[in-house]
Symmetry: D3
Subunit: 296 residues, 6 copies
């Protein structure tokens, strides 16, 4: 169960409201790198967590923090919109150079919300929950979370860089710090579970008979001319999971041409497809001719 | 530029076609853990890669392999559908127990494709390209790729476990092996870039003034009763990025109550909202009364 | 800011786990009538609320309760999945009648989550945040909320009716009661704002010059034969908003035929479209002939 | 069955074409508050209506009107685009201040439609039919419709406010009037069905045993400090549905901690999760160590 | 403007209601091959049509017919659902073989609509209006319409084949006939515009300088081994547009390797990417070492 | 299986980078008329092709070319972004007229990708794979492909027209030429299959008993006043498929009013709906009164 105290986790101040920056901030709310995503991701990972309940608690603790981050950003969007133009006339009045504010802002901030945040990204695309990665595998989820915090931190930095409003810069530098912590937190879970070698390849519970192991540490090359693929740490030497030795070679196909059965009657294909299949491709022209004949 | 030889990377054999399993296989084609996703993700990461071109080449090499994986799975779906019922009558004939094949299969395999694969997941939800993570930050992208290969390998194992068709089991065990390699490959890139400590927190190019560093290694607790958050590797000791020392404490709000300006005239709010804002909440009832009076 | 105590708002017990019912429950999590929707809707309404802060607090209080409802339902899904078949073989073993469990369950509960809830509806369609209605107009938002609670209560009742597990029935009857309260709560806000007449038509802040008032209380009929449209409370007598008197009449068009300019050169239309527009439709055939001639 | 006469319901005139305003108008076509939505919503409610056919007829009558509204708006978009720049050069020529028209317009109006409307919102997001609410419960549907007409009227007013083209202002003031009527019409249906008390809580056909009635009129508080939730019309006195008396109290959890079974073998979790579950969390470290040992 | 008479275009009779078939019918309502799509597609093509108004009228006439087709199918879905099980118990009672009806039907038909149609496809995926193709080019739109009617007719035939209910078979055979007409109608428009040669390639208004014509009739081969691509009517002889002569050859790349600038400071890339770019790839290892050193 | 050589199919040069044009180019990558769509469409058509394998090979050959087109466009986007402003300050510095670059560009090019392409359209809407049309019917697929190449060529021409960068103009004129070839190629397949008459109506394998043939060549009119529908090539004379003679007449409904059963108890409708249904509409008021009475 959850509780609130109506206070912000960190101060949200806007000195120079900018509807353009409000649009940019939306990416951190409803973008795939944003806070709705991490919030719901950690909640669903936590609610579905099986195994040691410590990790469930950690995930719910972090998810609960993330609600406060959405709240901070939604407040920041609303404050940045407080001088937004409500009409083309107002826009031109504010900016003799041609109404560029209305051009650059998210019009739905005027049309749909009356100057408040939307659960969408910077292009107005609504967040959709297919981005909530919660696989039931704790290690896979930790990598998903580190990824989310890494792209989130990159985004927060791009926003920090974009604005020169001191209040906004401060709020973003707080969020950057929290993303630093969360990256470290989720990597620390991997450490506590035994580290990279104990956990890779994920899942580490796949029995040997389910894996064609001769292909597990082999870099395959797909250069047209059969030249070796790009060489590096991944082409030779021990694999990071500590369980194999890298090799590298150009790939040649191991399977033949796929061979599908002809279309079945009643399936809605063209008759020519069925004729060709029944008789071999050589008879196609004849079949088509027959169809043509029957029309004249 | 790209080339083909029309051959499968690995044999695709189906001994006992199962339209139900065809539906399950769709998750590996068009699901968020599936092959269209990794294929396009590596392509877009490669095409947008800035910096050492070796990584661009590696990403495009891997993306090119993934096309062949979609091809294998699409072939597997088509082969599993070859005895699918085209009508309710046919279904009941095949299964006296009540037409359970048609119930469990993806009907669009009959209605929309004439017994071939769709670029959708196991529930028929089409893949959408918002899942193509390509941040321009090489380390963030590597974590995204390890995540994709980890959830993909989990999925392939679940499919391996679900079927007892030997051809399908063999194909899946090949894909499991490739996912093992790709997890190792992308972790090897991190190694080559200096390892976890050199790369965390991602991005590692954020200048110190952009981060409120006192909050960067601090576990914050959101328990209602102020008790400490779940303790572990992340609450004390050196952080995995090697740049800080973990501490842990319950969080108290640092910001006050958010304070938005009243609705502006012309914005489409209710008059009561504007009245309340102008005069303070205490006057709300009076405002509402006035509106009411004006109606009688 | 938000807090948690890791406890469920109400007990979640499952006596007879049913993966089919787990699928049905998903509608109450990620469906458009579900709990993610109301949770985010009340949060975004609250975070963007302008005017008397009492309503902001009420909305955030209710949103905070809704997190706990998602949590209950996610737990219920996980518990219903605990005996789900992981393979076609296991499925047939459990149900000699043909593997109907695997047919009817959401396969992603096995393939993607390892037996836990997804943020999707009963058909596996992910929730998307375009359903978060937060207009900035308090009355409009209240009607949106009553709607959400009405369809949510209808859904909870359909689920209650579908299952005969006593634990599930009890949990659902609790949620039904909460939906009763929330419908009343949001209607009480309308009351406090002066009632229906003070608030309709929404927004009540539109100035008279923005409305062609002769059409504001007129039922228009669109029967082909010009007969009167369906009569009722809405065709005569005072309007519910207390501001007009209903009339009713068949509609005849007030505007003429739309008249768009011809396609501009460089816009990518067919030449015949441009010719026809320049010269009048009568010349079209000639223009087409000319094109044809120029080819021979 | 349906018929047309090719005439507009109301005149659509544009004196000063504005591609920027064309973009804004899109919200009224394909936005969630727009006309495609209400049109399809009333059609699907009507086509599925069970009970007195009068309401079916009323819904289809209104849906038929809404087609004409989409038509008016699509015409308005096309007319506003007739001077849109087709190239960056043309754009700069028209506006020496830097090509702000092309910046602010929807580029797909040039790229995808050759200067005509799209079935998308102001941000180019296509309308999706999950927004068609048709629950089968007449009262729930009426509230959904009032909501749609309320947000639609707010949107039409914001558009009226944004433009100073007299033709556009007149068209919008007509649509505002129609939204006034439709709000009243749908509320009149509720009246005819017995009014709010006869219909709330929706559905009014839920039997008493399906509801834990002690929680049906109880405001629950989720303040962290246990202080009372925001007081108002909803905390004391008779409920608007006339069936209860409001009370108010802070919530304490009634359920315990959720307790999920450990991950099953073959499900793709990490071995550490299974070990921890089997043996209790205390043994986790040991399990991880064992995995680690097995690698060296 | 539009009108209705509340009558069905063609009788809709269901003798043996089947919730499974109701699910299949959904594809013809909300699938990409379905009736909502063609209805909206013809409306938007008509409302945006520039040039001879005859085609606008033809498109609106056809769109108006399509509303009646959605209506017929929505009615058919509702009638097929009239004996659907509302509970697991009812389901098992009706079908001792294990509740296969509830398994195979769309649960949202019970949960969300109370036994009526949804604007979704057979998998419950809502129709989204990105499928409304209306390019502003009349010939392109005609091909889009022929495609839609071709896939729609294939779908109607698959449905006809699936059911053995005589009422449903008759309704579907009517829709199949209408799709025959509409394919012919749209091809007749192409004929009236001068036929294939006058219209291909679409658009036929592109000036010669906008096309690198040496590549316009050249089949390019992408076989890995440089062997010729599949030969046929398209590799030699006159092109169907009557404007060229086909040739065929293997493709070799005409462009070099892409060469993107290094990441800019402040963009959020890893420092190693910037170092590598500045100094050439050879220095990467050194850069990574430096980062590593600075940590110790 | 697939291979690469890392070279571009055609040179991609940008002389005057324009972030605004980068946004426009996105439509050709991730728009419904774009290259991801055709690439995946031809792949899925090829992988599912049944019948003469020549067409499978042709489709895969073309799909393989399309990857190179996405690559060219993604490179073009990245090159156009190389001088994009990373901050509001930088934007204003570059353009004294008010920061119009940042206004007009896709902000996600800065926020999400660090100046590289996204798999989205010009409005930032991600491509979704429901647009991959692959019906299993070869003729239907050919028309879908001609449509895609026609709208794609129209788009490429609009882009060619929009820019005056010579490198971009050249690249686009190459793509325009390829679209000319592909339109011809797919029409040549129709020719090889016997031409239009042999293939229309699609599918040509539907048996006569599945079609109510009296309606197959009949233009139906839906004018309100019963006047004839728009006359043309489609109203009289032989049909393009060579199998019928066109006639034309106003439509009158052939079906009666739809008649759905009343709502079932337990389905969640309002009691008034059930009452009205049981007793006939006339008793509705009485039923509503009864409900009302029971409340007082």
């Amino acid at each position: 169960m959850y509780y609130t105290d109506k206070l912000l986790q960190f101060p949200v101040r806007v000195e120079k409201p900018s509807p353009i920056f409000a649009k940019a901030l939306q990416q951190a709310i409803g973008g795939v790198e944003g806070e709705i995503r991490v919030c719901l991701q950690y909640f669903f990972q936590g609610w579905g967590a099986r195994g040691d309940s410590k990790y469930r608690d950690l995930l719910l603790n972090t998810a609960t923090e993330e609600i406060a981050h959405i709240e901070m950003l939604a407040t920041a969007v609303a404050l940045n919109l407080e001088n937004a133009p409500l009409s083309l006339k107002e826009d031109v009045a504010a900016d003799a150079a041609g109404g560029s504010v209305l051009n650059g802002m998210d019009m739905r901030h005027v049309l749909s919300t009356s100057l408040a945040a939307l659960p969408t990204d910077a292009n107005g695309v609504p967040f959709d929950c297919s981005h909530v990665y919660a696989s039931g595998n704790l290690a896979a989820d930790m990598f998903a979370n580190i990824t989310a915090e890494a792209t989130g931190r990159k985004l927060a930095f791009s926003l920090w860089n974009m604005t020169d409003d001191p209040g906004m810069k401060e709020m973003l530098s707080y969020l950057i710090a929290r993303d630093t912590f969360h990256q470290n937190q989720f990597m620390a879970v991997v450490d506590e579970l035994g580290g990279l070698q104990a956990n890779l390849p994920v899942p580490n519970s796949i029995p040997p008979e389910a894996e064609l192991q001769e292909f597990s540490y082999q870099q395959l090359g797909f250069n047209r001319d059969g030249s070796p693929p790009p060489q590096g740490r991944w082409s030779a030497g021990p694999s990071p999971d500590g369980k194999g030795e890298f090799t590298s070679r150009p790939m040649e196909p191991l399977g033949g041409e796929p061979n599908l059965a002809p279309p079945r009657p009643g399936g809605g294909a063209q008759t020519q497809q069925m004729a060709a299949s029944d008789n071999g491709g050589g008879l196609l022209h004849k079949a088509a001719e027959a169809v043509k004949d029957s029309l004249s």
